[in-house]
């Protein structure tokens, strides 16, 4: 690129355009040639080693999920070498003194053995648990990034669905995993799961009996959870993660708006070598975080909870956070049960533990289709939206997050009551009211904030920024000089990708009294009403009210200031 300015001296032997073309040594040529003769790999490598990856911290969230999954596979494999998924009773004779001589299941006994009698076992167990938390947290953050930047839009709807499935499977996987040790805490969680299954109308008791192999606790449950946890779900996760990555690779990554970036290109670092090496380093960093946490921060100390006993329960029992929101819905729900014709529907369990999660997860899964349907936007998008530029979507996302946040907090209402010295019943009532009142407020407030930020961006893009230089006009008037923003800064605002204004619809009944086709269609009415939230209202910048003479004078001054 001969037009490049200021390339300067570099430590790498470069020409003005980029790194020099190195001549490969003979053995590299031979190795690549051998592979190419058999697999035709050179064409593939030529295309893919140069694959450009845009760089941004928010694109690392998915990587954290991927790398913590690898940590989970490594540590999980180690744990399977020692864990016994058995429900037969044994008497404990290990090195943890407080439980000496106690009767417990093989599952619990082998967990204690891993923790105290196998060197490094506790570390691997704790890394495994921490990595699981990081895995789920990274997935949630990654999903938020995808959601709020609109990266789920065409052509990436399939990858959104795969990602959603990964999250759902991750929740089940986590639940199965922490239920395996058969300690008092996890056994209580399983008891709740059994009660939730029982609450399903008509088939509930059958679902519970078939899943657990009989009445609670069921002789088959732990072995079944084990095979689901170490084979079935990991297999599905691995297959879906592979598909997720291949699709991402094929469709190329999204990128933030910038001066060189648009919907038909990708700007960033080539995959090989910089991106590849850096992402390898990032794997080490994620693993390091898990290792430090596993070494220093105790997690799930099952030896303190004791073996499961259906007659006992620990106070302040909390599941892991990705289940905790379900616990919250159960706690919030008022008592409600129907009895009719010899049948019972326990709404107090079925609604919060089955219906509400089902509804929320369905909305999350179909959201890309829902938004495309509302906005009629069927075109492909490769540039990330800034959340403020899509106020309707951002507000909806914030509202959904607030629902989950309230549910999660409600799952710890006993701890909140205890720490803040509020009555337990008051916290429950606070959450019951909050979950009805707060999310709509969050929706409204987020939308206003987005519109305000957008208006500010538009203003700075059109008028530039205030330089802080006060000058006196010949007329004696003082004014502050404004300077235009650098073009790349304006480009980064992504104002070109703002949500379009609502389409102008002809009136439902025209001047001849003829009704427009479809104007009575209830589905179209719903779409129109939802569109009211998604389409951009007018955020045009108000004219500043100066007359033309002043405006002209000021332009001169501003120009002068720039010289």
């Amino acid at each position: 690129m001969s037009t490049t300015r200021g390339a300067g001296p570099t430590n790498a032997p470069t020409t003005s355009g980029g790194p020099a073309v190195a001549t490969p040594p003979a053995f590299v040529k031979k190795a690549l040639g051998d592979v190419d003769d058999r697999f035709g790999a050179a064409g593939f490598l030529r295309r893919n080693m140069n694959k450009v990856f845009p760089d941004h911290w928010s694109f690392m969230l998915g990587e954290i999920a991927l790398y913590s999954f690898i940590v989970l596979l490594l540590t999980g494999t180690f744990l399977t070498l020692f864990f016994q998924p058995g429900v037969n009773e044994v008497v404990y004779h290990g090195s943890y003194a407080p439980l000496q001589g106690q009767r417990m299941t093989e599952a619990y006994e082998s967990t204690l053995r891993i923790s105290f009698d196998i060197r490094g076992g506790l570390l691997i167990r704790q890394i495994h648990h921490w990595a699981a938390l990081i895995f789920m947290a990274a997935i949630v953050c990654h999903m938020c990034r995808i959601f709020f930047t609109g990266a789920f839009r065409k052509p990436r709807e399939t990858n959104w669905l795969i990602g959603f499935t990964l999250m759902t499977l991750g929740i089940f996987e986590g639940f199965c995993g922490y239920s395996l040790p058969d300690d008092l805490l996890s056994g209580t969680g399983l008891r709740i799961a059994y009660g939730v299954a029982e609450s399903i109308p008509i088939v509930g008791s059958y679902v519970a009996m078939f899943a657990f192999g009989g009445q609670f606790p069921g002789p088959d449950l732990i072995p079944r959870l084990y095979v689901v946890h170490i084979l079935l779900i990991p297999g599905l996760l691995l297959a879906l993660i592979t598909a997720h990555m291949l699709i991402m690779w094929h469709q190329k990554h999204t990128q933030w708006p910038d001066i060189h970036r648009n919907n038909t290109n990708v700007v960033g670092a080539p995959f090989y070598p910089a991106f590849m090496v850096k992402t390898g380093g990032f794997f080490m960093a994620v693993f390091a975080a898990c290792a430090f946490l596993g070494g220093v921060v105790q997690i799930n100390p099952v030896w303190l909870y004791g073996p499961y006993n259906p007659a006992q329960v620990g106070a302040g029992s909390q599941p892991d956070f990705y289940i905790g929101w379900l616990e919250g819905t159960l706690r919030m729900m008022p008592r409600l049960e129907s009895n009719f014709w010899g049948h019972t529907i326990s709404w107090n369990v079925f609604v919060p533990a089955v219906l509400v999660p089902g509804l929320f997860f369905t909305i999350i899964a179909i959201y890309p289709a829902l938004e495309a349907w509302i906005t009629k936007d069927r075109s492909a998008h490769h540039v990330c939206d800034r959340p403020r530029n899509k106020p309707g979507r951002t507000a909806f996302g914030a509202m959904m997050l607030s629902y989950f946040a309230i549910m999660l907090l409600a799952g710890g209402n006993d701890l909140i009551a205890d720490h803040f010295h509020i009555s337990l019943y008051a916290t429950t009532w606070i959450f019951r009211i909050t979950i009805l009142v707060l999310p709509p407020i969050v929706f409204w407030a987020t939308r206003r904030v987005c519109l305000g930020l957008q208006r500010k961006d538009l203003h700075s893009a059109e008028h530039g920024y205030e330089t802080g230089r006060i000058v006196m006009l010949p007329s004696g008037e003082f004014m502050e000089v404004e300077a235009a923003l650098p073009p790349e800064q304006v480009a980064r605002m992504g104002l070109a990708y703002r949500q379009a204004a609502a389409p102008e619809l002809p009136p439902a009944v025209d001047e001849h009294g003829v009704r427009r086709p479809g104007s009575r269609n209830p589905v179209e009415k719903v779409r129109g009403a939802l569109g009211g939230f998604f389409y951009e209202p007018d955020v045009g910048v108000e004219p500043n009210g100066h007359d033309e003479h002043e405006e002209h004078e000021r332009d001169e001054l501003t120009t002068g200031a720039n010289d």
């Binding site: 073309v21 450009v52 090195s95 700007v267 090496v277 380093g281």
Partner: protein, 339 residues
């Protein structure tokens, strides 16, 4: 540290329109040149290299530390030593990995080129001709199968494929027993003794102080299957004299201010473990369902919809508590057939 020099043409079209000026056609064209201190000053680059190498050495030291902490302890050590070893192993492994991570990331950020490069996105959709051809192939093949014409073939195939799903369902039948009456019954029956769940000994009248409570079971815990035990726990509570307000029809179910209720919550089945002596409430620690004991364990707060089932009790000739009868309703959470 990093200085962005907007060097390349701002118009991306220009960068692509003149590929001949790009000397390295094998790499994506550079649109934004990044010049770091390491690029400008070889001495600085060498210093960065030394720092990176230090990180790698630190990582190697971490690995040695890990192995040392592993062999320094024997298996079956005391709990405290196991914890110390855990911390040492975790910190050493963390140092190993963090040293590698820091070194690698420093290597990329300080020594590898950081220019922004550009690649055109290829249209994901194929050409109109390809689409047309694909549709043609699909339709031609479909015609060749004969399915559009041969309705008998189509229907019988549909039937057999549809039925083929059934074995997959049927074969799962033995996953568990049918519910039948299992959820309705417990081990409690007429004359079942109230045994202390901890000791397995019968509970005698006067053993409980006023305001005291105890978990009791009908048989020693070791003699019950886990399934029976999960439904068996009952709380025997001694209320203050005259406090109990028996429900109509349950007048004789208490014995001298002693009442017995199922310990399994009617919400989702946690043990209702917390008895608050001051206000005589039983609280389930899982979801905070609260039952007022003197009032027949009526639900006063929380998500549970039903009272805890009451066990009618009396005392036998030895002064030991026994059940007058089993529960007259299923214990634990509600289910469809409960009624």
């Amino acid at each position: 540290m990093t200085e962005h020099v907007p060097g390349g043409p701002h118009d991306t079209a220009a960068a692509v329109a003149h590929p001949e000026v790009e000397p390295n056609v094998l790499r994506p064209p550079v649109v934004e040149r990044v010049i770091r201190p390491q690029d400008a000053d070889p001495a600085r680059a060498r210093r960065s290299e030394r720092i990176i190498s230090l990180f790698f050495l630190l990582s190697a030291a971490g690995t040695i530390g890990f192995i040392a902490s592993y062999v320094a302890y024997h298996p079956n050590v005391s709990t405290a030593e196991a914890r110390t070893q855990n911390i040492l192993l975790g910190v050493c492994l963390g140092v190993t990995l963090l040293g590698l991570a820091a070194g690698i990331i420093g290597w990329v950020r300080w020594l590898m080129p950081a220019h922004e490069t550009l690649q055109e996105r290829h249209e994901l959709s194929s050409s109109e001709a390809d689409r047309e051809a694909a549709a043609q192939i699909v339709m031609t093949g479909f015609e060749e199968t004969g399915l559009p014409r041969r309705s008998l073939l189509k229907r019988t195939l549909g039937l057999s494929l549809g039925l083929m799903a059934l074995p997959g369902v049927v074969v799962l039948r033995d996953l568990g027993p049918l519910p039948e009456k299992k959820l309705r019954t417990t081990l409690w029956e007429k004359h079942s003794p109230l045994l202390n769940a901890e000791t397995g000994k019968p509970v005698k009248l006067g053993e409980l102080a006023i305001g005291g409570f105890m978990t009791v079971v009908p048989r020693p815990v070791e003699e019950m299957s886990p399934e029976d035990y999960a439904k068996a726990p009952v709380l025997l509570i001694r209320l203050e004299p005259g406090l109990n307000q028996p429900l109509p029809g349950r007048e004789g179910w208490a014995y001298e201010d002693h009442v017995a209720y199922s310990k399994i919550c009617t919400h989702v089945g946690c043990p209702v473990g917390l008895y608050q002596k001051q206000n005589h409430n039983l609280l389930c620690p899982c979801h905070q369902s609260t039952f007022h004991v003197p009032d027949g364990c009526n639900v006063v707060f929380g998500p549970a919809a039903r009272r805890l089932p009451q066990l009618p009790i009396t005392v036998n000739e030895n002064g030991e508590f026994i059940a007058q009868a089993g529960f007259d309703e299923p214990v634990g959470p509600s289910f469809w057939e409960r009624g």
